[in-house]
């Protein structure tokens, strides 16, 4: 890892210990921030590293949540099994969508729109399909709290679960970033034809990137469902999750390992604080904050926080980082 990344890791470690002193509410916020950061990191693996941007991550988030949730609700299947199944199912769907993109030569923006279309279809379908609760949603029955049911009594157990998920996503992102696979991803992102001429198979790159990002996002969905204990189509399949994680990633620094985490760690708690502090009197202040911040960030430092810092200390943190000491 580079100096920048060590610094980022240190800040995040300290930051992640903060909620313990701040009490219940902030533990919940910290748990959600960890889940969002993990999903942002997962989005970054496909969108940032390999250039396979998706606007439809709600699809994978929802598949994860609904697979474990519905199996638990109907058949009392262990959420762990559901979590695994959801990840596999989401990865399969991701591969199918990526394959459609390759097969029909849909790339870049139009691929992102294709994922959006699939996510909207899933959202509307689940909102009508009765066994999945249709638009009423599903209330998950509470189980004995503990690791086996993925339901915890205290906020900090949930927070730890969120951190474990985040660590998993970061481990995957870091592995992808430093191994030859990551170099293939970036080569395809920068110039697909040139990459192909070097013997890199862009089909494998796109399919594997979508499979990874889908599986990780689905795991996040399962964990979030066990926390919320309520599945509704809008929360899980709607565009909100996707928009938020892209926003966090973009502000933090797209294409860098720590960018999505830094972005989420800064923005999500700030938005929640605005909602808690002013939500009663001025609804929408957190949306205004997110919206204006993204405009300002895109106009002033399009490389994101991590990318800009990396440039300031003399290293480009976005694309080539973390190769020299591995």
């Amino acid at each position: 890892m580079t100096r920048v990344e060590y610094a980022a890791a240190g800040v995040i470690l300290v930051g992640s210990l903060l909620p313990f002193w701040l009490g219940h509410y902030w533990l919940d916020v910290a748990f959600l921030a960890a889940v969002y950061a993990g999903i942002a990191s997962a989005w970054n693996v496909a969108g940032g590293f390999s250039g396979t941007s998706s606007f439809g991550h709600g699809l994978f988030f929802g598949i994860g949540a609904y697979t474990s949730g519905a199996l638990f609700f109907h058949f009392r299947v262990s959420p762990w099994l559901g979590l695994g199944l959801g990840a596999v199912l989401a990865a399969a769907v991701g591969v199918i969508i990526a394959w459609c993109g390759v097969r029909y030569r849909i790339r870049g923006l139009s691929f992102a729109v294709l994922t959006l279309a699939f996510a909207e279809i899933a959202w509307l379908f689940v909102g009508t399909f009765d066994p999945l609760g249709a638009s009423r949603g599903i209330s998950l029955p509470p189980a004995t709290p503990g690791l086996a049911s993925l339901q915890f009594q205290s906020g900090w157990s949930f927070f730890l679960a969120g951190l474990v998920f985040l660590a998993l996503c970061q481990a995957v992102a870091w592995r992808v970033h430093v191994t030859p696979l990551g170099f293939r991803y970036r080569a395809v992102r920068e110039n697909e034809t040139a990459a192909q001429a070097m013997g890199i198979d862009p089909v494998f790159v796109r399919l594997s990137a979508m499979a990874l990002t889908a599986a990780l996002t689905a795991i996040g969905g399962s964990i979030y469902a066990q926390y919320l204990l309520f599945l509704d189509p809008r929360t899980f399949f709607g565009p909100d999750v996707t928009i938020k994680v892209i926003l966090f990633t973009l502000v933090g620094g797209m294409g860098s390992v720590w960018g999505p985490v830094v972005g989420t760690a800064l923005l999500y708690p700030a938005g929640e604080w605005l909602r808690a502090a002013f939500g009663g009197r001025v609804p929408g202040l957190d949306i205004l904050f997110y919206g204006s911040l993204v405009i300002v960030c895109c106009l002033t430092f399009p490389a994101g926080i991590v990318g800009t810092i990396g440039r300031l200390v003399g290293r480009d943190g976005t694309a080539r980082a973390s190769t020299e000491d591995t």
């Binding site: 923006l109 959006l116 919206g291 106009l299 399009p302």
Partner: protein
């Protein structure tokens, strides 16, 4: 009978969607940017009409004559303030900024008007007319007529006005247009002005056709995006076809499919079009 009702409703909805989307198509065609704030800007025009009606008691149909140039100025200013500085950069950046703008609009509308559903009634509200034996709200028919007139005027302007010629030249080959002395920046700014101005023209009457909520923006932006892509993203004719297909598929889907599966139809259509029509995609891929 059910079929005729579906067809009439679908065609009316489709043509309205076509005019709403035509601004997005123009902007996409000339600047290569998908305006994700399109729905949000339409919501602004609708809420403006609501305020004018409420405080000055001016009919939204009359107000639209003032709101249209106002929205055009908004579009023009938006281009110069936000889009112009980043027009050569990654397309995701522009999309992200416009999504952010859509959020800002939603938040401001929520603060100003609250989350309740609202409408702004015009002089035709509350009446029904019979078209081919199908009862339909008069405001919808008025919106349909405005849309037909608007699309015709836009088509004529694109074909025969100087602005239209410059726009087509810029869309066809930006560098060549620049070399023959067309101010590309000015054309793009005007296109944003016209594209957003159309929303000011049609928004006020739609304030009684669609229900206004602060979060409607993103939803309609996605619907408009579906229309743009199904229509190929290049021409007015394509946009009209796209609008009709979306309007008809949704209306007929809701009539004939159980539950609300019909709402799926436009998106299913989008997926099919993306997968089978390489030309619609080509237009998207070539975007800067």
């Amino acid at each position: 009978m059910l079929l005729v009702a579906g067809l009439v409703q679908g065609i009316v909805l489709g043509v309205i969607l076509a005019l709403v989307t035509s601004g997005m198509t123009l902007i996409y065609r000339v600047t290569g940017i998908i305006n994700f704030a399109h729905g949000g800007l339409m919501a602004v025009a609708m809420y403006l009409a609501y305020d004018v009606k409420r405080y000055a008691n001016v009919d939204p149909l009359v107000a639209s004559l003032a709101i249209a140039p106002l929205m055009a100025m908004v579009g023009w200013a938006l281009f110069h303030a936000v889009i112009r500085p980043i027009r050569r950069q990654h397309h995701l950046l522009a999309i992200q900024i416009l999504l952010g703008l859509s959020f800002v609009i939603e938040a401001i509308l929520l603060m100003r008007y609250g989350a309740d559903m609202r409408t702004a009634e015009n002089v035709f509200s509350g009446h029904f007319v019979s078209v081919l034996g199908v009862g339909i709200e008069l405001t919808r028919v008025v919106a349909f007529v405005i849309s037909v007139l608007g699309l015709t005027a836009l088509g004529i302007a694109l074909k025969w006005s100087d602005w239209g010629r410059r726009l087509r030249a810029t869309a066809a080959d930006e560098l060549a247009a620049y070399l023959v002395g067309i101010s590309v920046i000015r054309v793009e700014a005007w296109t944003w002005g016209v594209g957003v101005g159309i929303l000011g023209l049609v928004g006020p009457v739609l304030a009684d056709v669609f229900k206004m909520t602060p979060d409607m923006g993103l939803r309609y932006a996605i619907v408009a995006l579906v229309v743009v892509i199904i229509g190929g993203g290049r021409t007015m004719a394509g946009t009209i076809v796209g609008g009709l297909l979306v309007g008809l598929s949704e209306t007929l889907g809701l009539l004939y499919l159980p539950g609300s599966y019909g709402g799926l139809m436009p998106y299913a259509l989008l997926a099919v079009v993306l997968l089978v029509n390489p030309r619609a995609m080509l237009a998207m891929v070539r975007g800067r």
